[in-house]
């Protein structure tokens, strides 16, 4: 059940990068949201190195060393490294645990030698299959929880996940431009699964003194956003992807209602909205994550970030060093610019530049610009009678904002897609139970393997 019923900030104007209402301190003298922004570097092992624990550990040792070396080469004050589990690291919880321990060991060395501040996020791979198994009691679930446990014991400071509840529905519906199904798959099923998962994750984190970080709607809203793609792509309308994102905000919020503390996961583009509601520190990724995917919010998305990430970069040599080192440097300078503006007292001016760079570049940036994100957040907390009602309110508010700002240009096709979706949303039942039973009827027929019991329904 929804808990948040008010905003953490009095207005969007209060929100700024580097500062969160509830900063988080962990790792080696590492504070997130306490006044300054830090980089979060996410290295990705080369294909083939996942074959054995030994080769994967060796790969991580190299990647992490390169990150730390570049920090002390150019003066980066502190850094978080994300160990974003490849399947094998979760499947074999001891792999993830030992890689965390090895990373911690390296970081301690650099902290001792140079005073380099640092922290580790372990993001466990959610490889449950909602359309093939009982996701509330499968082997996959057991293993995932074990992986959390081992990572925490190994030395991960922050435990995160990209949970996949409701993906069987949203996958089916995103490519069919079915807003009702997206609302059901993300807003209802996703939220319910998160409630289930995060109770357990928070418990594990507390048991081992780790911080429960956050969850992202990567498996759903990012699918829509990446399929919407750039100006020349025609897979998913950009307006539709933006509505999906608004719905995702209502869903990702659940982690913090269940006790997660942040910093949230970098690829949760919805987290500007989440920060407005919760005041937790957030990780964000924009232009420097072009190595992982293209987006239309390269600057704007940094407007309220507390960690600034590259999303994922495969380990390779470039002229200027390995990719781990190269992207550490790029992030490091991006962050230095933000922190300098903070020291100069001109952070709000920099934020304004970030925002206007992309606010009207695309619908996604538009709804995620702080003032619009704040409005969507308000719609969420004001409609917190059910997961359904707040997710629907988020989408309607996002749609309304898009329709009413004349500076946001749209093609005829995009506008029609939006109007069409809003019409459907308007026609949906008021009560959550009515919506749920309607959707169960429809999607049980359409989506092979969809099992409401997976969501306690």
């Amino acid at each position: 059940m929804p808990k948040f019923d008010k905003m953490a900030y009095a207005s969007a104007d209060e929100m700024i990068f580097g500062q969160a209402k509830s900063p988080v301190k962990y790792g080696r003298d590492f504070t997130v949201g306490g006044g300054y922004v830090f980089p979060e570097l996410v290295p990705h092992p080369r294909p083939g190195t996942e074959a054995t624990k030994k080769s994967l550990m060796k790969e991580y040792e190299k990647m992490v060393t390169d990150v730390l070396d570049r920090c002390v080469a150019i003066g980066i004050p502190g850094i978080q490294v994300e160990l974003e589990h490849v399947y094998q690291m979760t499947k074999n919880p001891d792999w993830g645990g030992e890689i965390a321990a090895q990373t911690k060991h390296l970081m301690e060395e650099y902290y001792r030698k140079f005073g380099l501040r640092s922290a580790i996020r372990a993001t466990i791979a959610d490889y449950r299959k909602p359309d093939e198994e009982d996701i509330r009691s499968s082997v996959a679930l057991e293993t995932i929880l074990k992986a959390f446990e081992e990572s925490a014991v190994g030395g991960a400071d922050n435990l995160s996940i990209e949970s996949v509840g409701g993906k069987e529905i949203s996958d089916y519906c995103i490519v069919r431009q079915d807003i009702r199904g997206v609302l059901f798959g993300i807003g209802v099923l996703g939220s319910r699964d998160m409630e289930f998962m995060w109770k357990k994750i928070v418990e594990i984190a507390q048991k081992h003194g780790a911080t429960p970080g956050g969850d992202t709607n990567c498996a759903q809203a990012n699918v829509a956003m990446f399929m919407a793609g750039g100006y020349q792509d025609r897979s998913v309308p950009h307006t539709f992807a933006a509505l999906t994102r608004a719905i995702a905000a209502a869903r990702s919020l659940v982690a913090y209602e269940q006790g997660a503390k942040g910093p949230s996961k970098d690829c949760g583009y919805e987290d500007v909205i989440v920060k407005a509601i919760t005041g937790i520190p957030i990780a964000m990724e924009g232009k420097a994550s072009a190595c992982a995917h293209s987006d239309l919010v390269g600057n704007l998305i940094a407007a309220c970030c507390d960690l600034w990430s590259n999303e994922a970069v495969e380990y390779h040599d470039m002229f200027g060093g390995t990719t781990s080192a190269v992207f550490t440097e790029i992030l490091g300078y991006d962050v230095a610019l933000m922190n300098t503006s903070i020291e100069l007292g001109t952070a709000k001016q920099l934020q304004e530049m970030m925002v206007y760079s992309d606010k009207y570049r695309d619908m996604h940036g538009f709804i995620l610009s702080p003032e619009n994100a704040y409005e969507i957040g308000k719609a969420i907390v004001e409609n917190n009678t059910s997961y359904y009602s707040r997710a629907k309110a988020a989408a309607l508010k996002a749609g309304e904002l898009m329709m009413n700002d004349s500076q946001l240009k749209m093609s005829k096709f995009e506008r029609e897609s939006l109007q069409n979706a809003l019409r459907i949303l308007d026609g949906l039942p008021d009560k959550e139970e009515d919506f749920i039973s309607e959707c169960i009827d429809i999607y049980k027929k359409l989506v092979p393997g969809f099992n409401p019991a997976n969501y306690g329904l």
Partner: protein, 249 residues
Amino acid sequence: MAAVANFDNIFVRYDLVGEVEAKGARVASKNPALQRVMQCVVEGDTDNIVDAVNEALKVADPLEVINEALVKGMNEVSRLWDEGEYYLPQAIIASDAMLMGLEICEKKMGQSLEKKGVVITHTAEGDIHDLGQKIVNALLRANGYEVIDLGKDVPVDEVVAAVKKYKPVMLTGTALMTTTMTAFERISNRLRKEGIELPFVCGGGAVSLEYVSGFDLGIWGKDASQAPGMAQDAVNGLSWQQMREKWNA
């Protein structure tokens, strides 16, 4: 807050440059019943396709409904998509409608329509992200291929066994992660060892041309929409080398 008077030097909305004027569908049938079926396909109207097909079957035989309405409608959808008037969802729901109609016609005929060929699809071992594969399945089926869907997180052994069993014209593999896509190379090696040659189209997420060009049989799939064209080439007897030359050059 200050305001920006002119965004032209910050970004250019190239998506609005030369916007495609929606001209709608171009095909028509003289037979109003067939016309309605075609309409349902072109509009992806899954609510009315069943009724429309049943009505059409009263005035035309199943093969005619298939060829003159369902297939024609689908061809029109392909054209609208190619020309930028349709987005992927329009193509997907059209396939949905088309397949629903086809099922009714086949039931009426008492047999399945002969398929253009068999394609096996799968998502790599360790990978549960099968949306790409599902799109491929839908597009292949709507274009007349029989799809053997092995699902997601499929072990290498299973893929190899299925190829030996079904003797498909083409195999596809989807992977979101580079660390799961390594299974593709293992599949290729196993197939070669068994003396099997067929085009093995690999795509999705992090799968790159560079990687797929690194092993035999591999052809890089940039986009799900290429699947029907590739399957057609395979049916036409192009070797994997020729297909690689054509699609990946």
